[in-house]
């Protein structure tokens, strides 16, 4: 690596190979651009580098549990639901890349080719105009410079290629897309859907759309992917390519063109700005193995390092023209970051439908789109929440006693317990200037780059929303005849939702935003940001699908502009 023969000049540079970087790579390579993808971590090849994917439960030494030694050394990442023995090798350990928590923030990261697209929860709900028009209507953040119509075709474009399973539900708040067949709802999910429909016209219980090949099309077979086998072991990487990740889909597709150079172990230090040319000319990289500093050049640069690392790179890209970070004339870089409020849950039991059960496994759940403050403001808090919803039955095992008596019970046919139902809140949070990330003035990481300092907290709006969710869901569950209804607030710090967004927000006005409607820095047009950092507001829906659509749209725009010579 880093030898003198290494090519340093490309047509495009993409920083990051995850959810959005993979799409930039695919679009550029398909259009004939010699593309360099810089990945700070190691390579993870589809199939080959999923070491646990075919392991049986008994083959895990600790049966999935994280040894205390690791848990003790990693208080942050150990909080993540997917950080278990089978997938812990895909997560960044606490000491591998420290950061400063001015307020508690659990920063969950995956540094490898594919990034977090390997371990994501694969939920792919479109955003609607109720989301894109939100800030303007409700007077927070700044107006999005785009609307649903700008992005609708690009949603279709990425859905067809990635493979999204879902139903056409015809709901205003959750536009329909290009769907592969949906899986079933469970008996009690269907029952609840009917109960809710009897009482409300604006509340819907639907199948949660997800990035799974329930029935692959030709394009998916061409990618070498096959049908989802309902293993529900997705976080390990899938031997069938049954769900979407960069490793199985966009990166190999880009590689096939012969136009991709994928450089791993390449930690981006900063983007190089040329004061004479008045544009960015390349990227400064620290080779993680040799610690050598290298420079790579291209006329267009896409920053897809995952939201906060994208902020970090821009903040660290200083020059005479941009002493406060690349493109940061407005001073808003790093500010107005937000996330999803995942603290609250309502659970219950249902004693009906005990003659029925589910069979097999399902890689998703049911979903209740946002119904609060949609058509008009109706509560004392802004915005609203969507919910995951699921109803399932487990086996009931009596473990009383010992000896032959106990053994007989263990060997007997299992009995099934009641239906357990649960709803998890996904609350929109309001981006604020007081929630920000910045560079620590003193502390640096092992690559000589300042540590990111994170200062983010909940506010009164979030607390009120949680109470409303508790009240509404308790009513809906009570009406459906569910029993033992319990509300719980995990009080988890921001970050554990793994939906951090903003800091490099889009907007029409360069005085109050960083990016224009094509995701170009207002003040440095050949640098694009299309990952979570670009989000002006958070919506309630899982954001990955929107990052993918944004990236494909912006990459195609960038190619057009390159051809026109305007970059």
């Amino acid at each position: 690596m880093g030898n003198n023969n290494e090519n340093r000049q490309f047509d495009a540079i993409v920083i990051g190979s995850g959810m959005s970087g993979g799409w930039a790579a695919k679009e550029f390579c398909e259009k004939g651009l010699k593309t360099l993808v810089l990945e700070r971590g190691r390579d993870v090849k589809h199939l080959k580098d999923y070491p646990t994917t075919n392991m049986n439960p008994w083959e895990f030494k600790h049966r999935g549990r994280i040894p205390y030694e690791i848990e003790k050394d990693n208080p942050v990442i150990s909080k993540c639901y997917a950080f278990k023995e089978d997938a812990m090798h895909f997560f960044v350990k606490d000491n591998e890349h420290p950061y400063v928590q001015e307020k508690p923030f659990d920063w969950i990261r995956g540094y490898q080719v594919g990034g977090k697209s390997i371990m994501w929860a694969r939920q792919t709900q479109r955003w609607s105009n109720f989301d894109f028009e939100g800030p303007a209507r409700d007077g927070f953040a700044v107006d999005w410079p785009i609307r649903y119509n700008d992005i609708a075709d690009w949603y279709s474009y990425v859905e067809k290629f990635a493979g999204i399973s879902g139903n056409k539900d015809g709901i205003d708040t959750l536009p329909d897309g290009e769907f592969l067949p949906a899986d079933d709802l469970t008996c009690v999910e269907t029952y609840f859907k009917e109960q809710v429909a009897k009482k409300y016209t604006d509340r819907h219980v639907i199948y949660a759309r997800c990035a799974h090949l329930t029935k692959p099309n030709d394009i998916h077979l061409q990618q070498g992917r096959g049908q989802c086998q309902k293993r529900n072991l997705c976080q390990r990487g899938c031997p069938f390519g049954g769900y979407y990740n960069s490793n199985s889909t966009t990166i190999p597709w880009a590689e096939k063109t012969g136009n991709l150079t994928l450089r791993t172990h390449s930690v981006v230090h900063s983007i190089i700005y040329d004061d004479q040319k008045q544009k960015a000319t390349g990227v400064r990289v620290v080779d993680a193995n040799t610690k050598e500093t290298l420079e790579f050049f291209a006329p267009v640069i896409f920053v897809n390092a995952a939201a906060y690392n994208t902020n970090l790179i821009l903040l660290n890209s200083t020059s005479n023209r941009f002493p406060n970070g690349l493109g940061n004339d407005s001073g808003v870089l790093g500010k107005y970051v937000a996330f999803h409020n995942y603290r609250a849950r309502v659970s219950a039991k249902y004693d009906g439908m005990l003659d029925s059960i589910t069979d097999g496994r399902r890689p998703t759940s049911a979903y209740i789109p946002r119904f609060r403050n949609v058509y008009k403001q109706e509560t004392d808090f802004l915005r609203g929440y969507a919910m995951t919803f699921s109803a399932s039955r487990g086996t009931k095992q009596n473990n009383d006693g010992f000896g032959n008596d106990l053994k007989t019970k263990l060997l007997a046919e299992p009995e099934f317990g009641p239906w357990y139902v649960g709803a998890g809140m996904m609350g929109e949070t309001i981006p604020k200037e007081t929630n920000f990330v910045t560079l620590d003035p003193v502390k640096k990481d092992e690559w000589g780059i300042p540590l990111l300092k994170i200062s983010i907290d909940y506010d009164d709006n979030d607390e009120k929303m949680i109470q409303d969710f508790f009240k509404e869901l308790t009513t809906m569950f009570t009406d459906a005849g569910f029993i033992d209804i319990k509300t719980s607030d995990s009080k988890q710090a921001p970050g554990l939702d793994i939906h951090e967004m903003g800091g490099v927000r889009m907007g029409n006005d360069p005085k109050t935003s960083m990016l224009n409607k094509w995701h170009q820095l207002h003040a440095c047009k050949n640098v694009f940001v299309t990952d979570g950092a670009s989000m002006t507001s958070t919506s309630t829906q899982n954001p990955s699908l929107t990052y993918m659509a944004f990236t494909a749209r912006a990459a195609n725009y960038a190619v057009e502009q390159l051809k026109k010579g305007t970059l």
Partner: protein
Amino acid sequence: MNRRTALKNCFIVTAGVAFIPSCMQEKSKSSLLLKNIKISSEQEQLMADLSDTIIPTTDTPGAKDVGAHLFALMMIDECYQPDEQKKFMSGMEAFQNLTKKKFDKSFSKLTPQQRTELLTELEAKKDEKDNEVVAFYKVAKGMTLQAFTGSQYYLTKVRVYEMAPGRFHGCVPVKAAKA
């Protein structure tokens, strides 16, 4: 007895289950290398006999055959916090003392009737808090259950684990479902 001797004994115990078909052998059996807790060979034997009393070998494999006590000790050594490990160890000593006091013998020398008597008594007290013998017994039993129901034997012969079911039916009659 030092740890090396204890380990040697553990291999002998392991060899004792060689009659179990190879498909039922557990990988973790011969890898007992304790880093944090110190277990004497008597205590290891106690754990083996206790797990065998909880889920005995009959005409089908029991806890001993899936190496449950080795799994339990490894898990307590590697996954428990230091204060939980301390509690487990002092509970085990209290269990040993109780056995000596009651029967004037170690657990491993008790007759099946005496073992049953002792465990029946502990089961009856299972809701007692602050009883360290009961606390120890509950951890040992919990680990024995986890080792047994999470074993290759159990998940291939009793409740068959399907790695790739390839299907999801949202609502079927209970009898049609594979548990």
